[in-house]
């Protein structure tokens, strides 16, 4: 357990999500798509079955999976406490923005060091983005 949700393989996780959303198995195309899990245990079992490890932060016990239609605008609001925790982290003197590593790896470039104001701007832009972005 820790303080953040950890997923052992971003690509594999994305394939699992795409499989749930489309009904096509993106991990082993000849196999049936895994059903959308309804509980945390179901999710963990499915993940382990494909060799994926998910670690939840302390106290995160529930699971909610939302699937919506293209006609509905869905805005996902993150918890207030998580926003504030990250803001505190970003205000640290030598803080680096905690960008998921796959961005650096896919673009083959490290995230540059930024001053506090830029880190908080990026934080706001990213929260805004993933609150409304659907896919792609």
């Amino acid at each position: 357990m820790g303080t953040s949700l950890e997923i052992s393989d971003d690509v594999l996780w994305g394939k699992l999500v795409k499989s749930w959303a489309t009904g096509n198995n993106y991990i082993a195309p000849t196999r049936p798509a895994p059903p959308i899990p309804r509980t945390r245990d179901e999710l963990l079992a499915q993940a382990a079955e494909i060799g994926l490890t998910i670690t939840f932060p302390d106290g995160m016990v529930g699971l909610e999976i939302i699937q919506y239609s293209g006609e509905t605008a869905v805005i996902k609001l993150p918890p207030k406490s998580m926003i504030e925790e990250t803001e505190a982290l970003l205000r640290g003197a030598d803080a680096l923005y905690p960008m998921p590593q796959f961005y650096e790896d896919f673009f083959a470039a490290p995230l540059p060091a930024m001053d506090e104001a830029r880190r908080l701007e990026l934080h706001a832009a990213r929260i805004g983005d993933y609150s409304v972005r659907n896919c792609g």
Binding site: I27, P32, P34, A48, E49, Q101
Partner: protein
């Protein structure tokens, strides 16, 4: 044993449809003479076998389902994580093939083990300063002699602080260089604003730049070479080019001697089955017991089988400098060849070696993963190790190792066990027959985690029987280690293969020639007479201790300020 990605050639159009024993293994050999019907996959279509390996790799990935069983720890208390990368370093010093057999579907065009002097630290010395000058410092002595004096000290490079890029960091990385005004299409060479990236690792073996941790191990050897050379230069100053070459070569002999002793007394001791270790290494190296011919080269059962066990030892994360775990995937970013935007090494990855090796009896923070058919998410990652053939392969190193075994013309496991027992009845004392010891357990293991409704690839009818009948060696070695020693060390077959390869390499490339011969098992101080023959003063050896383990080396280096150099 080749580079991670760029040392392969594309699949040839006419793929191999039947594999047969190949007499010319180009610097490698089979452990014992092989016949067509004793080869792994004999009589099977390689392309179909390759798909079976993908299904086996999927089963290996499902080992995650078993990872939270009570009492099942992935940490190996017998082998700290530093050995994972020391083993990789040793692999680079044993085998250097230009292509991956998995990538070429078995066609041997261009396949060659270029490592002709295994275990002589070719992997750091390369061809010496005249062939591999990038490894060696451009010294003042070289400048003042118009280049007539050879470069003899090894390069170390400055690390970086990403948050405070102007801060001067220590020389805690391998050397790295940026090409200037070259016609590289990957570099923007706009006038006035050229793109400056350190695309060149200043090491002898580009594979030692594969990731942060192997580069840090390489740096240790560079520093230790420089220290030994300083002692030699101090005791017997190099006034001429000939003197300088002599001191360089003597430094290499001394470092190689210590390195070989560490391999035998520490690395093999930890890794191998105790009975096998006693048989081959006690009370001394027992080269008379070898069943393979050392002169014929490294056995493919080593390079494409048993020594792949190191891939299972990599962890998901490491505590590099303190208790904060850093994902192991981050280590992969530091490679001049693959990702020059990220280098030099950032300070978070300047290794504190007490975190990776047991020093002064203190358990390190990082233990290797147990030797089992169970791999870290990094080793299984599609991003780092994508399928070589999309139509046949799955992602990850385990699948690659299995595919390599298909095409390497290696022994079938049950037949190799029988052949070894027949060749030398002494081996039968600790090498049990396959059917009696493993077949039933392997059947049970393969059946575990099967789920007809599962989303991962499952075995097809006949697959399990086929694998039990003829398991691929890289997989079996891990399975054997799990069964025999709970994954803390290798089992008998894996250990025999590695002992044969390591001793064979030392016999093939002795330390010396003619009247000058060194023995890594004898004390260095008892062999100073050999160096006197070369005109080296004994004073050079006065501070070099008789180290037996990597821990001893690190303690020595720490005592002489070699681990933290400004």
């Amino acid at each position: 044993m080749h580079g991670i990605s760029l040392s392969t050639i594309p699949e040839l159009v006419d793929g191999v449809t039947r594999l047969a024993v190949d007499a010319d293994l180009s610097g490698t050999q089979n452990l014992l003479a092989l016949t067509d019907d004793s080869m792994f996959g004999a009589g099977k279509e390689p392309a179909e076998l390759r798909k079976l390996m993908r299904r086996l790799a999927a089963r290996i990935s499902r080992e995650t389902l078993r990872s939270d069983r009570p009492g099942r720890s992935e940490d190996n208390p017998n082998i700290p994580s530093g050995y994972t990368y020391l083993l990789q370093f040793i692999a680079h010093d044993m085998v250097n093939t230009s292509i991956s057999l998995a990538a070429t579907a078995g066609r041997r065009f261009g396949f060659q083990n270029a490592r002709q002097q295994p275990l002589t630290l070719d992997t750091i010395y390369g061809g010496g300063p005249d062939v591999s000058p990038q490894v060696y410092e451009y010294s003042a002595q070289c400048v003042h002699s118009r280049g007539l004096m050879p470069r003899t000290k090894m390069r170390c490079g400055r690390a970086q602080d990403r948050v405070h890029p102007d801060e001067k960091m220590p020389f805690a990385d391998i050397g790295r260089a940026m090409p200037v005004e070259v016609q590289d299409s990957g570099l923007d060479s706009s006038p006035g604003n050229p793109e400056c990236l350190r695309t060149e690792a200043l090491v002898a073996d580009a594979r030692n730049d594969d990731h942060a941790l192997i580069a840090q191990v390489t740096l240790l050897f560079h520093r230790m070479h420089n220290f030994i050379l300083d002692q030699l230069n101090s005791a017997t100053p190099a006034k001429t080019a000939s003197d300088a070459y002599r001191n360089l070569i003597c430094a290499r002999f001394i470092l190689t001697l210590l390195y070989r002793r560490i391999i035998v007394k520490d690395v093999m001791y930890r890794l191998l089955d105790p009975s096998v270790y006693r048989y081959y290494f006690l009370p001394d190296i027992n080269s008379g017991k070898l069943v393979c011919d050392p002169d014929a080269g490294v056995p493919v059962e080593f390079s494409h089988g048993a020594f792949r066990c190191g891939h299972a030892m990599t962890r998901n994360s490491y505590r590099v400098r303190d208790d904060t775990p850093i994902p192991a995937t981050r280590a992969m970013q530091f490679s001049s060849r693959r990702a020059p935007q990220f280098v030099p090494l950032s300070k978070e990855w300047i290794v504190k070696w007490e975190q990776f090796f047991e020093i002064n009896g203190k358990k390190p923070a990082n233990l290797s993963r147990r030797l089992r058919p169970d791999f870290s998410s990094l080793a299984r990652s599609e991003f780092y190790f994508p399928p070589l053939l999309l139509s046949s392969d799955g992602p990850g190193l385990p699948n690659r190792d299995l595919v390599s075994a298909v095409y390497a013309r290696i022994w079938s496991v049950p037949k190799l066990i029988d052949a070894l027992r027949a060749k030398n009845p002494e081996l039968a004392n600790f090498l049990p027959t396959y059917q009696r010891e493993y077949a039933a357990k392997l059947t049970a293991w393969l059946n575990e985690t099967a789920d007809p409704k599962g989303g991962s690839e499952q075995f097809e009818a006949g697959d399990i029987a086929a694998i039990v009948d003829d398991p691929p060696l890289p997989f079996f070695v891990l399975f054997e280690a799990d069964i025999k020693h709970d994954g803390q060390r290798l089992g008998p077959l894996g250990s025999i293969i590695i002992a044969e390869a390591i001793i064979g390499a030392m016999v093939k490339s002795p330390l010396g020639k003619g009247p000058f011969v060194l023995d890594p098992m004898r004390l260095l101080k008892d062999q100073t007479g050999e160096f006197r023959k070369l005109g080296v003063d004994e004073k050079a050896f006065s501070v070099i201790s008789e180290m037996q383990s990597f821990e001893d080396l690190l303690v020595f280096m720490n005592a002489h300020g070699l681990l933290h150099q400004g």
